[in-house]
Subunit: 396 residues, 2 copies
């Protein structure tokens, strides 16, 4: 186990009607706030109005900035930063899914620092201070509400890039599972894949002796899978199942499940290139790439049983593959097969073709993916490896 720091400082307020504490929680940090959201359903459903009532009741003034898009754009972040500076706002309240919260984080980062905020994403500067961010979550997926990460798309490229920094963690996060009843099934499914990917990125490590964290990862994945099945078997308004999924989404990415180890984190950037070129939803890009990444690793590790053992354990513990009836490699492959079946059963693609992605651009995506160097820690992946992973995803 490696030395680590763990500082999940976000105050979690979880349960029915909790959005009504948005005002009192914001008031603990500032008297003037930016209310930042996507518009659309959050407005139509009356959620934004309830939050405004709550801000009013707590004596917090606000400026509203809607219009966040999926894969949130740098141009709107710049606009938010201008408003925050001009209006002297002290807190950014992001309402929505990972996009709205990431956009809020980027605005907070830009407003608290001089210069171009994109420099942090280009790794020209290191982030160490930000304004306080609060989050009201409507889509359990990204885990942004208590994570240190922030991913923004610069339309000029397009480049999709992330900044991980402790100052990015929201100071509070409000999670009401009822707000997720009305999510379209595809969005629910994408969220489920995203949170599973956050756990799997941390699970696939070469660090020995991280048994407690392994147990927590495996348990969380099993709980997600079972409750996802419940939602997709007519349980759209099953509070318990929605609540388990929502809480899992937060725990998946606050780094509890990554303590004492280095995770892999290749599948995320590999899938980002699909999203950047084809606007595929993040969760759907992950359901295509993660199985392909696993299959590539098992193939590439031919002969090194230690690698395969990790995937065989994953198959046994998470997907119930009986090790007594399979050899390690066969067990590992059976685990991937079951994972793909699960993704398909909730309506997600598991191949490039199923998401209408043009395989002729594989070379271009692989080239873009290594802009900052090889990817991954479980296995270092060069451009040719990444190309092979896209090809596996193309064949499946």
């Amino acid at each position: 186990m490696q030395n680590f720091e763990y500082y999940a400082r976000t105050k979690i307020i979880f349960g029915k009607e909790t959005e009504n504490s948005a005002g009192s929680e914001t008031a603990l940090h500032a008297r003037r706030a930016l209310l930042h959201h996507s518009g659309g359903h959050a407005v139509k459903s009356g959620l934004i109005d309830r939050i405004k009532d709550s801000l009013k009741a707590a004596g917090v003034e606000w400026v509203e900035l809607g219009g966040v898009q999926p894969n949130p754009r740098l141009s709107l972040v710049y606009k938010g930063i201008d408003i925050v500076k001009k209006e002297k706002l002290g807190c950014i309240l992001g309402v929505g899914g990972g996009s709205a919260i990431d956009s809020a984080k980027a605005i907070a980062l830009g407003a608290a620092n001089d210069g171009d905020v994109w420099d942090f994403f280009e790794r020209k500067k290191t982030a160490s201070q930000s304004l306080p961010v609060g989050a009201v979550v409507t889509i359990p997926a990204a885990g942004s509400e208590s994570s240190n990460s922030c991913v923004i798309t610069n339309e000029a490229g397009p480049w999709k890039r992330g900044v991980n920094a402790e100052c990015n963690r929201p100071v509070f996060a409000i999670l009401n599972p009822e707000l997720t009843y009305s999510l379209p099934p595809y969005q629910t499914a994408c969220g489920i894949c995203d949170m599973m990917a956050h756990i799997m990125e941390r699970y696939f490590t070469r660090e020995p002796n991280v048994e407690l964290t392994d147990e927590l990862c495996e348990g969380a994945l099993r709980a997600i899978i079972r409750n996802a099945r419940r939602i997709f078997s007519g349980g759209e308004k099953d509070y318990a199942a929605r609540a388990e999924i929502m809480w899992a989404g937060t725990l998946a990415h606050n780094n509890l499940l990554g303590t004492g180890r280095v995770g892999d984190w290749a599948s995320h950037p590999i899938s980002h290139e699909i999203t950047a070129l084809f606007e595929t939803a993040h969760g759907a890009a992950l359901s295509i790439i993660f199985p392909a990444w696993m299959q590539y690793n098992i193939k590439a590790s031919a002969g090194t049983t230690e690698d395969t053992a990790r995937f065989a354990r994953f198959a046994a513990k998470v997907w119930g593959v009986d090790g007594a009836f399979y050899g390690p490699e066969q067990a590992a492959l059976e685990g991937i097969f079951r994972m793909k079946n699960f993704f398909r059963s909730i309506g997600l693609p598991v191949s490039l073709a199923e998401a209408n992605i043009d395989a002729s651009r594989i070379g271009e995506m692989a080239h873009r993916a290594v802009k900052f160097g090889p990817l991954g820690n479980f296995r270092k992946l060069e451009e040719k490896d990444i190309e092979a992973i896209y090809r596996i995803a193309g064949e499946m």
Copy 2:
């Protein structure tokens, strides 16, 4: 799942040589601190000197107060409060196990509030503010380093009483597993039982649909049991096993494993009476009481299969009892049997006789235990129920 707030704000610094950051972490909160510990091994081993060097390097002045005893005493807390007020100290740094850290928390609480600090323990006042507390942990057990609880013994009774309040949570906790190599085996074992009890108190709930938390609890218990066996099979200096146990001890009690549910919390106060009268170590009192509490519940629930099902699940998931070969009640009892065997295997008592506790005082203990009313949430326990639990512990 019930609504909940979860705010585990303690910054965790985990790993080898981390005690050398005690100074820089303290300096983030105050320039003058109380250095509070038990003396003994912490001094002899050079740990206190290393911490002093670290305080000095960070420009923090300190006043030292040693002498914390197991089941920390109110008289020393009063002494600490006087020093902190007189010397205008801004942070309490507790070094040791749960006793030293609880004593530090009580001093911080008393110094930040007017009046008698014992009033908080007698439930005459509610705690809402405290001074910042830092912790350097040498005994993984109580989880006090990131919990909201604080248990102190008032010698006048003797009464052992606790205060649970968010303001009690330390602002930082430093955990170096190497510091636990030299713990006597009995103390290691008591700590292991204590952390398991913290998880089990939360696990035994009647709240339905807390599946994610159930999975996390069961996984943490399995990891503790396996790594305990490793330590007690010649692995006193096995860093990995010591590290797993130490991190588990923290997670067991920061309330991650209690989110969305009401735990039971009868076994702790029932065992406190044993400690108050016989000075039995806290962990050893728990290894006697928890199996007896479980057995009483299974007996009392005769006919209500839902209750027994909870204990049968515990037996299956934590102790590997095969449900296909046992009926639910038999499975549940087999689980208790295995748990007792495990406790015995690491040198803990599982009956009153094994700890030389005078069974003739059972009536007195049961009477004292209900001073503030019935105990427990899984099943409300009156004086006669508690007496029956002590009797089961007397028979075993």
